[in-house]
């Protein structure tokens, strides 16, 4: 396994000549006519309800013996129409929806939508809120990667991995529960800052988690890199070159595993990512093993960022956590008893909602699965005119046939698991 040493975005050696992307339909590997005529090709449907597809993904696979000769993915079984629903809600109510779209990157999906609202509003967010957002973003990344690692272990027959990961995942969720009141769908971001101040005990609890989790990452590495089963089922499996990864629109860890040193946190910094120290793990092999290594290394980097953010949060204990902008932000609770004006503001924001100036923005952040993008159009009213989410899983599933070709059926699930796709994210 080779870690890339270059700081440049591109420049990794080519893994193979030309392109592997099927033509003319990039997401559909079609059986060659000659192969079909042999009469040995059997079409098998995986899913939509199959225990190893993590949700309702349907893979239509053409097999010649055990070899995959044709493949396409069918999705949409979890399509919920979030984008349509969000158009019917006022801006601040619509913040509830994004975390249900990608239900593992809950906080980050919420964040990208709120960042888009804030960009349209031109509102200044207090530094403490930004540091809290960063700490929670990284904890959320760890949470998402843990679920990926646990279920990837299940696919490869490393059953114990699942229990190790879900144990730690619960601890991350405990932190989220402490901050937001619920384990998963926190709705903690608010245009202008946070919905509430961070609890006083959070910093210590989070530090304790980080200290313990540092050791756990070592455990995970022993369970993977020193595990023959893991190695043999991931090394050289599902290879995709840097060039093809770009053409297929892969993003995040999947891109970094193909030798591209591309991380939105480093290259187009948002929040305060330009003020913290962290490295971007990059591997050049482009296979399932490299994708796994990127994610496990990333958990370590997330811990570094989270710890630096916690230090800042501690220093800023008494500072404001939401902007003082009464046309957008709910007034402090205690003022409602004494101030008529605050009561009016509260009433207007809760019933009508605040208004967002007309315009269109596209905000992209580095989510656990890659580029979480949010395209928002406002007509100046109290409801979004159009919201669109760029789902990294959607494009990763479309890319799966490229990665699976010439592999055996046993590798199919291991490859799709290594792409870390989530049906909620892809189907929206």
């Amino acid at each position: 396994m080779t870690a890339a040493r270059t700081d440049s975005v591109v420049g990794a050696p080519a893994l193979y000549e030309g392109t592997k992307i099927p033509s003319p339909i990039p997401s559909w590997l079609q059986v060659p006519e000659a192969r079909r005529e042999t009469g040995n090709v059997l079409q098998v449907n995986f899913g939509p309800n199959h225990p190893s597809t993590h949700g309702v993904l349907r893979l239509v696979v053409d097999l010649d013996g055990e070899e995959i000769v044709g493949m396409r993915a069918v999705i949409g079984y979890l399509h919920t129409g979030f984008e349509k629903s969000m158009e019917q809600k006022s801006w601040w109510k619509a913040i509830n929806y994004p975390s249900r779209i990608d239900y593992l990157a809950t906080f980050q999906n919420e964040l990208v939508f709120v960042l888009a609202i804030e960009k349209l509003l031109g509102i200044e967010v207090p530094p403490k809120a930004t540091w809290v957002r960063m700490a929670l973003s990284e904890l959320n990344r760890i949470h998402s990667h843990l679920i990926w690692l646990g279920t990837m272990g299940l696919e490869l027959g490393v059953q114990s991995m699942y229990m190790y990961c879900f144990d730690q995942r619960e601890r991350v969720l405990d932190l989220f529960e402490m901050v937001t009141g619920v384990r998963v769908h926190g709705r903690y971001c608010q245009a202008g800052g946070l919905a509430e101040d961070i609890p006083a005990a959070f910093v210590d609890e989070a530090r304790a988690f980080c200290g313990n989790f540092q050791k756990m990452i070592g455990e995970y590495e022993r369970l993977t890199w020193q595990n023959k089963m893991w190695q043999r089922r991931t090394d050289g499996i599902g290879v995709v070159s840097a060039e093809d990864a770009i053409r297929l629109g892969l993003s995040g860890p999947n891109l970094r595993a193909s030798g591209l040193n591309w991380d939105i946190r480093k290259r187009e910094p948002y929040l305060f990512y330009d003020q913290v120290e962290f490295d971007v793990p990059v591997y050049e092999d482009g296979d399932s093993g490299a994708r796994a290594r990127v994610r496990i290394d990333e958990m370590r980097e997330s811990l570094r960022i989270a710890e630096q953010s916690l230090d800042k949060i501690e220093q800023m204990a008494a500072e404001p956590w939401i902007a003082d902008e009464r046309k957008v932000v709910l007034p402090p609770r205690e003022e409602l008893q004494t101030s008529m004006e605050s009561l009016i503001h509260h009433f207007k924001i809760v019933t009508e909602g605040y208004r967002v100036p007309a315009g269109e923005v596209y905000v992209a952040i580095e989510g656990p699965r890659g580029e979480e993008g949010c395209y928002v159009v406002s007509d100046g009213g109290a409801k979004p005119w159009r919201v669109h989410f760029r789902a990294p899983s959607f494009l990763a599933i479309a890319a799966a046939p490229t990665l699976c070709q010439e592999h055996l059926i046993a590798d199919l699930i291991a490859i799709s698991a290594s792409l870390d796709t989530l049906m909620g994210d892809s189907d929206r």
């Binding site: 990039p26 770009i246 629109g249 902008e325 046309k327 993008g373 009213g381 669109h388």
Partner: protein, 181 residues
Amino acid sequence: MSGYKQVPGLLEVNEALGETTLVVERERLGEAALYLRDELGFNYLADVAGADYLGWGGEVAGSWGSAEGRDLNVPYTLGPSLVAKPKPKRFSVSYHLLALRDDPVRVRLQTWLDDGEEVATVVEIWPTADWLEREVYDLMGIVFAGHPNPVRVLMPEDWEGHPLRKDYPIGGEPVRFSGEE
């Protein structure tokens, strides 16, 4: 940015909120896309998003501000009700492009069309567009001419209508297996 002047079919360049939007003629979208990829290095298609502007530009009830929007830093800028600037046609298709290199640049390539008009596919230019264009067709009903596999991707194949259109009703869909069919 002067580099965009040569983009084929360019109608206007909008700079707003730190983002660049290139509006191009619908008929020359393919040329513009090819130029952006090959000459300006936009090798990564991040997203394709359609938007329906049916009913756009009506008075937004109770809104305060000017045509540019409200200046949040000036309290109580009580102006006339905001009327959003009219849009050239009913639908927009926005391609969010990224030049994936050491000095990354993002740009939004946008084109406008009415119901019944088509826009050329960019699948051959960026294979990413395969599912992204299918999604826009599925939910918005915009036809991408020359797409190799122009079928729905999220909704069932036999679904009628395109849900993200503004004239598609909310709550009007039949409830399946409810015993009332």
